[in-house]
Amino acid sequence: MAIITAEHLTLGYDSQAIIKDLHFSVNAGDYLCIVGANGSGKSTLMKTLLSLQPPMSGTIRFGDGLKQNEIGYLPQQTVVQRDFPASVREIVLSGCQARCGLRPFYNKEEKALAEQNMERMSITHLADRCYRELSGGQQQRVLLARALCATRKVLLLDEPVSGLDPKVTAEMYQLIKDLNKEGITIIMISHDIDAALNYSSHILHIGEHIFFGTRDQYLHSKTRRMFLEEEKGGEA
């Protein structure tokens, strides 16, 4: 059974629809890449999945025991975070915040979970370092560890490799792939169509032509050919 199902989804801003009549579903263990040109509505779709913005019409259903707030989220970095005085441990722990409800402090279980996820991302040695002094790749690992504290099932990643150098990018992709192998469902927004084809199991292409299906179907689809031609046209 699908854990996330979107039906007849129309998304947009100020009564202007960007995406119309979108259908897709995500099963547990999938690795879904959402690709498309700038302005095609990738981020809007992500916000809707996170319930930060309501859809203009249509529904998103969460099934199979997944609750809306059990999604881990790796946002793009904001300006505020670049000079925020916070230690790595504090940030990772804040991923457990939703579990607390109204309880003001973290309990032992949550602290252990934070330690465990720092271990998983191999950033334990950085636990007491200040976040703003870390490299871009290390910062992404910190935010990934935080997202893992918030979920055991699904991770939503918004351009997780933007601004990273090629070596760190490859490491990051490998890390995400490993998490997927451990059973975590991945939904990733990406510009990088090659990486999407390398790692993902499903592709959702949004834009003028919408495509949803497995990676192999996408490789032979019309949408991809048209997209490639468009890109070539753009470069020429």
């Binding site: 916070a86 991923g95 939703a98 003001p104």
Partner: protein, 278 residues
């Protein structure tokens, strides 16, 4: 030393010390959050709103100014932090608008309707605090203690939530934290602190109480908890020293405290600069 001992025998000096230190503590606690949220100037904006409200209260001849000033300031704080998320008018522009507007209206109203013969003196003392901290009644001191305690308790209880919401609002919202409610809470607490602080340093210098300790602490520490604790301690020390100096040297209380805060910032900057290299 003898002089300080002599002054401490007067109850109004002790009141001033208690109130001054408490307000410094409260304002520094939320300072870190405000500076990081790019709302450094909210103290200034809100205090001008409070000034405007106060002049209306004075014209209406209300016996208890707080009844009018507090609700108006809280309302403006909520409006300001709301517009911060809306992109039509950005946070800094909204604050500038409200701040200048309220200041102008306050002065205008005072000028047109005031019955006082010493108008510029009145304005000056509301803006710069002058000596009002030395004329506190026991009730004002009790009110201040109660409200400060409430602020500290709220801050400690919601510390982790304030951190989560300040560091990454969209992540917090996505994982089901009611970020808007906490933003509202922050706005209300800030408004209360500012209305309290007006007695101490006056409208103009409140910003200094809010941002200097936070900025000083951020020069030296890299974790949120260390920065918060350090800014609270710094702020209390500076307020205490400032009041002492102003009593001994006969200088205005508010500006003396801020001067000490500036000096503390300079020291922290140097420590942060050379401490890291060593």
């Amino acid at each position: 030393m003898d002089k300080i001992g002599l002054y401490l025998q007067y109850p109004f000096v002790r009141y001033a010390l208690i109130v001054g230190v408490l307000i410094a503590l409260c304002s520094s606690l939320l300072g870190v959050t405000l500076v990081l949220k790019r709302f450094s100037f909210i103290g200034d904006g809100l205090s001008h709103v409070a000034f405007g409200a106060m002049s209306i209260a004075a014209v209406l001849n209300l016996t208890n100014h707080m009844l009018l000033v507090l609700p108006i300031t809280v309302l403006s704080a909520i409006l300001l932090l709301r517009t911060g998320q809306n992109t039509k008018i950005k946070g800094d522009a909204a604050i500038a608008m409200i701040s200048v507007g309220a200041l102008a209206f306050g002065y205008l109203i005072m000028n047109i309707f005031s019955t006082s013969s010493n108008l510029s003196g009145d304005v000056c003392s509301t803006l710069f605090g002058s000596t009002s901290i030395l004329t506190l009644s026991i009730w004002e001191v009790v009110l201040c203690i109660v409200l400060s305690l409430a602020v500290v308790v709220i801050f400690v209880l919601f510390y982790h939530k304030i951190f989560a919401v300040t560091f990454d609002e969209s992540f917090a919202k996505a994982t089901g934290i009611k970020a808007d409610q906490y933003n509202l809470l922050i706005a209300v607490v800030i408004a209360v602190i500012i209305v309290l602080a007006m007695n101490l340093v006056g409208s103009l210098l409140i910003s200094a109480l809010v941002i200097f300790p936070a900025l000083s602490a951020m020069r030296m520490f890299g974790s949120f908890r260390a920065v918060t604790i350090c800014s609270a301690v710094l702020s209390v020390i500076c307020a205490f020293l400032g009041i002492m100096i102003s009593i001994v040297a006969g200088t205005p209380v508010g500006s003396t405290i801020v001067a000490v805060d500036v000096a503390a910032f300079a020291i922290c900057y140097v420590i942060g600069r050379f401490g890291k290299k060593a």
